[in-house]
C-alpha cells in the first residue's frame, strides 16, 4: 500500500486521529497523549486560551510539531464564529479553524445554517475551514461549494460517548461527499472509531473519551490503533462495503452470455 495521507488544505498528515485539549485532569497530560497517539492535529477552544497566564496558557502544552485546530466554541452566530477565527489567526494559531456554532446548550447540537455562512466567509479569507455539522448531505455539498476543507459530521451529541448514532446519515455523506469526512463528537470507544474508519471516514476526532479516561496516553494509543485498523479494513474492502456499486450480477449474469 502506498503512503496513505490525509490532506486538509495544503497540509498532509499521516495520522487520521484528531484530538482535543478539553476535560483533561491536568494540562501536563496533553503532550504525552499526543506522543503516544501520534495525533498530529489538536483542537483548542480559543475562549480557553489565556495569553496572560504564563505556564497556565494551554498553548504552552502543545508541541510545535502538532497542527493547532482552534475552534469557535462559544459562538452562537456566524458573525461571532468569524470574529473568533480572525482573532485566532491574529493570535498566531495558524490558518486552521474548526467552526462550532451552537445555540443548544442541552445537547450541544450545531446550527448548520450559521455554520455554512461562517464557512463561506472564512474560506474566502484563506482559512482551512473544518465545519462541525449535523450530518446532512445537502449541507455537505454546500460546504464544498463554499470552500470548506473537510466536513465534520457528529457521530452523536458531544461528550455523550454514544458512538455512531447517526451512522446511516454519515454513510450517505461518505458516499457522496467530495470533502474529506472527519467524524467528530460522540465517539466513546476505540471500537466505534474503528467502525467509523471501516465505513470510509477519512478521520475521526476524539476528545472526551481520551481526556477523561484514567490513562489518556494509553487511551490515545488505543484510539490510534483502532483508527489504523479501521482504515486498513476499509482499504481491504471487507465484505459488506460496496453498498451502491455492485460489480457483477452473480445470479443472473449467465442470461447475458
Amino acid at each position: 500500500m502506498t503512503e496513505d495521507l490525509l490532506t486538509l488544505g495544503s497540509k498532509t498528515f499521516s495520522s487520521r486521529l484528531l484530538t482535543g485539549t478539553g476535560k483533561f485532569a491536568s494540562k501536563t497530560l496533553i503532550a504525552p497523549m499526543l506522543t503516544a497517539s501520534g495525533s498530529e492535529i489538536i483542537t483548542v477552544a480559543l475562549r480557553r486560551v489565556d495569553p496572560r497566564a504564563g505556564q497556565e496558557n494551554i498553548l504552552k502544552h502543545i508541541p510545535d510539531t502538532v497542527t493547532l485546530l482552534p475552534n469557535t466554541s462559544g459562538a452562537r452566530t456566524a458573525k461571532e464564529a468569524v470574529r473568533i477565527a480572525r482573532i485566532a489567526r491574529e493570535a498566531g494559531c495558524g490558518d486552521f479553524i474548526k467552526i462550532e456554532v451552537i445555540t443548544d446548550m442541552q445537547y450541544l447540537l450545531p446550527d448548520n445554517h450559521e455554520t455554512l455562512k461562517a464557512t463561506q466567509i472564512l474560506a474566502k479569507e484563506g482559512f482551512v475551514v473544518l465545519p462541525y455539522v449535523m450530518p446532512d448531505i445537502t449541507v455537505t455539498q454546500q460546504l464544498y461549494d463554499g470552500g470548506a476543507a473537510a466536513v465534520m459530521p457528529l457521530g452523536s451529541p458531544i461528550g455523550s460517548n454514544q458512538g455512531l448514532e447517526m451512522k446511516s446519515m454519515i454513510e450517505r455523506i461518505i458516499e457522496t461527499s467530495k470533502l474529506p469526512v472527519v467524524v467528530d463528537a460522540g465517539i466513546g470507544r476505540p471500537s466505534q472509531a474503528a467502525q467509523a474508519m471501516e465505513m470510509g471516514a477519512d478521520a475521526v476526532l476524539v476528545n472526551t473519551a481520551i481526556a477523561t479516561s484514567h490513562d489518556p496516553s494509553l487511551a490515545g494509543k488505543a484510539f490510534a490503533m483502532a483508527v489504523t485498523a479501521g482504515r486498513m479494513a476499509f482499504h481491504a474492502n471487507l465484505a459488506g462495503k460496496n453498498r451502491l456499486a455492485v460489480a457483477s450480477s452473480p445470479l443472473t449474469g449467465f442470461l447475458r452470455e
Binding site: K23, F24, A25, S26, R47, R48, D50, A53, T212
Partner: protein, 372 residues
C-alpha cells in the same frame, strides 16, 4: 407559562406524602433511567430527593461522578466574588446586609474597583462575580456600567449578583460586557418568603422569581440560581430549585444553567435557621440535581469548610470560588469597618485551592469563557 405558574401548581402538591411513599424499587427505577440515558422527569428528581434514596447515596455518587466527567471532564472552574457596595434597602431577616443592621455602609469608587480588580487578577482569577446590595439610588446603571467596563480589562467573564432588574437594564449590563447572572430566589415557599422579606423591593416574590427569565431575554449566556437553605423545608426547596433550573434550560436552550447551594450557618441578623441543611442532605441534593440534569453547572462557595469542599470535587461540583473576600474592598482597598456578608469557612488562597484540585486529580480552569 412562566415559572410563577409552575410554582403555583406545586403549591397543591403534597410533597410529604410523595416523599414518604417512595420505595427502594422506585429509586432503583430512576437510577436505571440514568443508565439507559432516558431523560429524567420531575418525579425522578423527587424520588432521588426522598428519604428512601438516602440509602442509595454511594451508587448515586458514582453515577453522578461519571456523568460529570463525561460532560465537564476532570476540571473545576475557578472564580472569585467582588463586593462593590453593601448599601441595601431590603430587610431580609436573615442577612448581614439587612437595612436595619446598623453598620457603616461602603461603596467602592471606580478607582477602587480597578484596584480590587488588579489584586484579584494577580491571584490568577479570570472569572469574576460582582456583587452589590439592593440600592439602585446608590448604584445606578451608569455606575454599574462603568464598573463592568473597568472589569472587562481584567476578566474574561463577568457575572453579576445584584438586585433584580428589568430586561432593558439587563441589556445595558450585557452590552457593557457582563455575561452571567446570579439570582437566588432565597426561598421558593411563598409564605416563608413573605415572612423573611417584610419590606423593600424584594418583598415582590413574583418579580424576583421571573428575574432569570428577564435576564436570559436580555442576553446573559449563563444563569446561576438557587435557594438559600435554612429558610424553607430543604427537600422541597431543593426540588423547586432543580425544577426551576430544568425549566430555564428548556425555555432558553442557549443559556447555560447552574445551581448553587448557599446554606445558612449563623445569622448575623439574629434569627436561628429553622431548616438547617445537613452535610448528608447537601450531598443528596447535589447528586439528585446532577442525575436530573447532566449538564448542570454546580457551584460551591467558600461558605463551605475546606474538608467538605475537598470531598465535593468528586460528587458533581463544577465550579469553586477561591481566595474569596465577602466584604467591600476586601482584596486591596481595605476601607475601615466593613461587614462581611457571610463568614468565609474556606480561607485558603487561590494557589492552595488549585493545588488541592490538582491533588484530587482535576484541572483547575481559570479561563473558560470570553466574549470576542
Amino acid at each position: 407559562m412562566s415559572f410563577f405558574d409552575q410554582v403555583k401548581q406545586f403549591e397543591s402538591f403534597d410533597f410529604k406524602e410523595f416523599y414518604d411513599s417512595v420505595q427502594p424499587g422506585d429509586v432503583q427505577n430512576s437510577l436505571n433511567r440514568v443508565d439507559t440515558r432516558v431523560s429524567l422527569e420531575y418525579h425522578d428528581l423527587l424520588t432521588l430527593l426522598s428519604p428512601a434514596a438516602e440509602n442509595f447515596l454511594e451508587i448515586m455518587a458514582q453515577k453522578a461522578q461519571k456523568l460529570t466527567h463525561q460532560y465537564f471532564g476532570r476540571t473545576i472552574g475557578l472564580y472569585a466574588p467582588m463586593y462593590i457596595s453593601d448599601f441595601c434597602s431590603n430587610q431580609c431577616t436573615y442577612c448581614g446586609f439587612n437595612f436595619d443592621t446598623g453598620f457603616k455602609r461602603t461603596q467602592l469608587t471606580l478607582g477602587q474597583i480597578q484596584e480590587e480588580a488588579a489584586a484579584i487578577f494577580d491571584m490568577g482569577i479570570r472569572h469574576i462575580l460582582v456583587l452589590t446590595g439592593e440600592a439602585p439610588a446608590k448604584t445606578p446603571l451608569s455606575y454599574l456600567e462603568a464598573a463592568i467596563k473597568i472589569l472587562k480589562k481584567y476578566f474574561s467573564s463577568i457575572a453579576l449578583e445584584m438586585f433584580p432588574m428589568d430586561e432593558s437594564s439587563y441589556s445595558v449590563m450585557t452590552k457593557a460586557g457582563a455575561d452571567s447572572l446570579t439570582v437566588y430566589q432565597e426561598v421558593y415557599d411563598r409564605k416563608i418568603y413573605k415572612e423573611v422579606h417584610p419590606g423593600g423591593k424584594k418583598a415582590d416574590y413574583k418579580y424576583r422569581l421571573l428575574t432569570p427569565e428577564r435576564g436570559a431575554k436580555a442576553g446573559f449566556r449563563a444563569m446561576n440560581i438557587g435557594t438559600l437553605f435554612g429558610l424553607g423545608e430543604p427537600k422541597i426547596e431543593a426540588f423547586m430549585a432543580g425544577y426551576h433550573a430544568k425549566y430555564l434550560e428548556q425555555q432558553f436552550p442557549n443559556v447555560e444553567v447552574s445551581l448553587s447551594l448557599p446554606r445558612m450557618t449563623k445569622a448575623e441578623g439574629g434569627i436561628a435557621p429553622k431548616n438547617l441543611l445537613s452535610d448528608k442532605t447537601f450531598v443528596q441534593c447535589m447528586l439528585a440535581w446532577r442525575l436530573f440534569m447532566p449538564r448542570l453547572g454546580i457551584n460551591i462557595s467558600t461558605r463551605e469548610s475546606p474538608a467538605f469542599r475537598d470531598r465535593l470535587i468528586h460528587l458533581g461540583a463544577t465550579r469553586y470560588s477561591a481566595g474569596s473576600k465577602t466584604d467591600v474592598g476586601g482584596y486591596a482597598v481595605h476601607t475601615r469597618d466593613t461587614t462581611v456578608q457571610f463568614e468565609v469557612a474556606d480561607t485558603r488562597s487561590v494557589a492552595q485551592v488549585s493545588q488541592m484540585i490538582q491533588k484530587s486529580g482535576y484541572q483547575p480552569v481559570f479561563k473558560d469563557w470570553e466574549i470576542f
